[in-house]
């Protein structure tokens, strides 16, 4: 059973989604509004999906959403009465699936949550891959830089410099990038 953290951020606290969610067979854990520390709440409750029901997604709401996306990534679905396309665009950029609450029926909730979760997973995978690529590029640059310094210091060619760095790294049970950083740091210190 899906575990849903439902935040009712509407003024009238009508609980308009709660009944529909329970009816659709979800486990619903409620939070009163967004005065809570949302990342901490997500950490304790460990929901599969965070669902925010709000009159209008203002800056405070988006701030909380961005924090969760950063620290406790979860699929987030936002239901709102706001019809302003600009507000919706902003919400989507912050990493949430946003829907206008008007006319939402229990039967439509399951596919909406499925889509939100699938999209979340592919976003996460994409993010991890991009991160890996960035890190690789950064490490390659540092290793190249260290290799260049070593070629000057030892008056050797590229392959010899690589071999020297690798032997040093392996004999200390370190990674090549660690030895590269040491060479760069040493060079900076000696100016």
């Amino acid at each position: 059973m899906l575990r849903i953290l439902l935040i009712d951020d509407t003024q009238n606290k009508l609980g308009r989604l709660k009944a529909a969610l329970r009816e659709a067979g979800f486990e619903v854990i409620e939070a009163p509004d967004l005065t809570i520390d949302l990342p901490a709440c997500v950490e304790t409750v460990r929901p599969d999906v965070v669902l925010i029901d709000t009159d209008s997604p203002d800056r405070d709401v988006m701030e909380q959403v961005v924090m969760v996306s950063r620290d406790q990534p979860r699929p987030i679905v936002l239901f709102t009465d706001e019809h302003d396309p600009g507000v919706m665009r902003q919400a989507i950029q912050a990493g949430v699936s946003a829907y206008i609450v008007e006319g939402i029926h229990a039967a439509r909730l399951q596919p909406i949550l499925d889509v939100a979760m699938a999209r979340f997973e592919s976003d996460q995978a994409l993010r991890a891959q991009l991160l890996a690529r960035d890190q690789q590029l950064a490490e390659r640059k540092r290793i190249e830089q260290a290799k260049g310094l070593l070629m000057k210091m030892k008056d050797c060619n590229e392959e010899q410099a690589y071999t020297l760095m690798r032997r040093q790294a392996m004999s200390r049970q370190q990674k090549l990038i660690q030895v590269a950083e040491q060479i760069i740091a040493m060079h900076e210190m000696l100016g």
């Binding site: 592919s122 891959q129 991009l130 290793i143 690589y162 690798r166 032997r167 392996m170 200390r172 990674k175």
Partner: protein, 400 residues
């Protein structure tokens, strides 16, 4: 399984998936995988390799089959057992991307047998046949290479591995402890664990695997077939990175020495350098006072000869599964090997690095019992042995 979200971005041969989880077991022959991951070889080919050390071959197999690991340092035979559905998991299409090494496994006997003077193959055969001793031997996985070397060697000495002795499975690093506790009388394992037992005074090496088959196939880089199909660029880049690392290791004695230092670290083999290094460099001592420089010690590269995924190497393991009744019927030996061995990917990777590729995907070898294996007649070869279990059903003693 989804295809990579980045696949559409890459026109070229850039890896579709740049960050890979790679399984390995704490064994000397994982060297080129560890060096590729940590010494900048993977980066040069657009990959980040996250090394995941495994505690047993069974858990490595499960994670490889489930996709939790993208690829792994793996026993040759294990890949074929998973592909053919022998053992604990349902059949699942597997792929061999390249060979990782040849040689460097060993069969050891216990100090108790040593004290009894059982220090030669003949003495062992006498003990088994004339005194009716039912000894217990450990290997590392029921369909793995160590089970096959143990069986082949015992049979070559006239000892039936399924009828005359008991077989148990023990994870590689625990062999010496099991010998010490008296639970097993001998074992077949990869280095450094045979050398470690000798160093700890826990018995001696009776036979090296290279004495059974000089330059035998051993570990491979394995993945699920879906991985090779969905991420062909990642698979090719991975082969390139590991092939380049294996070439680097064998470029000089200093590089081999540094490799031994790296491997002995706690994140990898977690074993003293004095235990890891000698046999990695081919310097053997057997614990009986004999020393020699082995011409067929660990080969991680050997100018690419250790890395080509020969069809005949893959087929050999299937002939032995058939011989010992692990397969009740003959598979389509050549057809299965063609599916599993990723020769095209390997050729592309080797060519890009300028590593020579033998023209034929078959090789011919003479084994310890005088039988020649060249891949030409697997059906006949599986039936050519005096000791076998062709008619037996797989039984409980070998853990299946």
């Amino acid at each position: 399984m989804n295809t990579s979200p980045l696949a559409w971005l890459n026109g070229s041969d850039a890896p579709e998936k740049p960050s890979l989880d790679i399984g390995f077991m704490a064994l000397t022959d994982c060297a080129s995988v560890v060096v590729a991951a940590t010494q900048g070889f993977a980066q040069q080919h657009g990959l980040t390799l996250n090394l995941k050390r495994q505690g047993s071959w069974a858990s490595l197999r499960d994670k490889l089959a489930s996709g939790e690991l993208d690829a792994a340092h793996c026993l040759y035979g294990l890949v074929y057992a998973v592909h053919l559905g022998i053992g604990g998991v349902p059949a699942s299409d597997m792929a061999v991307l390249m060979g990782l090494n040849q040689n460097a496994q060993a069969i050891n006997l216990s100090p108790a047998l040593q004290r009894k003077g059982v220090t030669s193959p003949e003495a062992l055969a006498r003990l088994v046949h004339q005194h009716g001793a039912k000894l217990t031997f450990a290997q590392t996985f029921p369909t793995g290479t160590h089970a096959m070397w143990l069986y082949y060697w015992l049979a070559s000495q006239g000892i039936h591995p399924l009828h005359d002795v008991n077989s148990v499975v023990v994870p590689p690093a625990q062999m010496a402890a099991h010998i010490q506790a008296g639970r097993i009388d001998g074992f077949c394992v990869g280095e450094p664990w045979a050398a470690a037992a000798v160093a700890q005074g826990q018995g001696f090496t009776l036979a090296t695997s290279q004495s059974i088959w000089p330059d035998h196939p051993e570990k491979v880089l394995a993945c699920a077939r879906t991985f090779a199909e969905q991420y062909p660029n990642s698979a090719r880049a991975l082969i390139k990175a590991i092939l380049a690392a294996s070439r680097f290791i064998e470029q000089s004695q200093e590089n081999r020495h540094s490799t031994a230092q790296l491997l002995s670290g706690s994140a990898y083999l977690d074993t003293p350098l004095e235990t890891v290094e000698p046999r990695l460099l081919g310097a053997y001592q057997d614990g009986l006072g004999n020393h020699w420089q082995d011409n067929h010690a660990l080969h991680l590269f050997d100018h690419g000869r250790a890395n080509l995924p020969y069809l005949s190497d893959g087929m050999w393991f299937m002939t032995q599964f058939r011989r010992w009744g692990l397969l009740r019927d003959d598979p389509d030996y050549l057809g299965v090997a063609r599916q599993v061995q990723q020769l095209a990917l390997y050729h592309e990777a080797a060519e890009a690095l300028g590593v020579p590729c033998p023209a034929l995907p078959m090789r011919s070898s003479l084994l310890i019992d005088g039988n020649r294996w060249d891949g030409s007649n697997p059906y006949g070869y599986a039936r050519s042995f005096r000791l076998h279990a062709l008619g037996d059903t797989p039984d409980a003693r070998i853990g299946l």
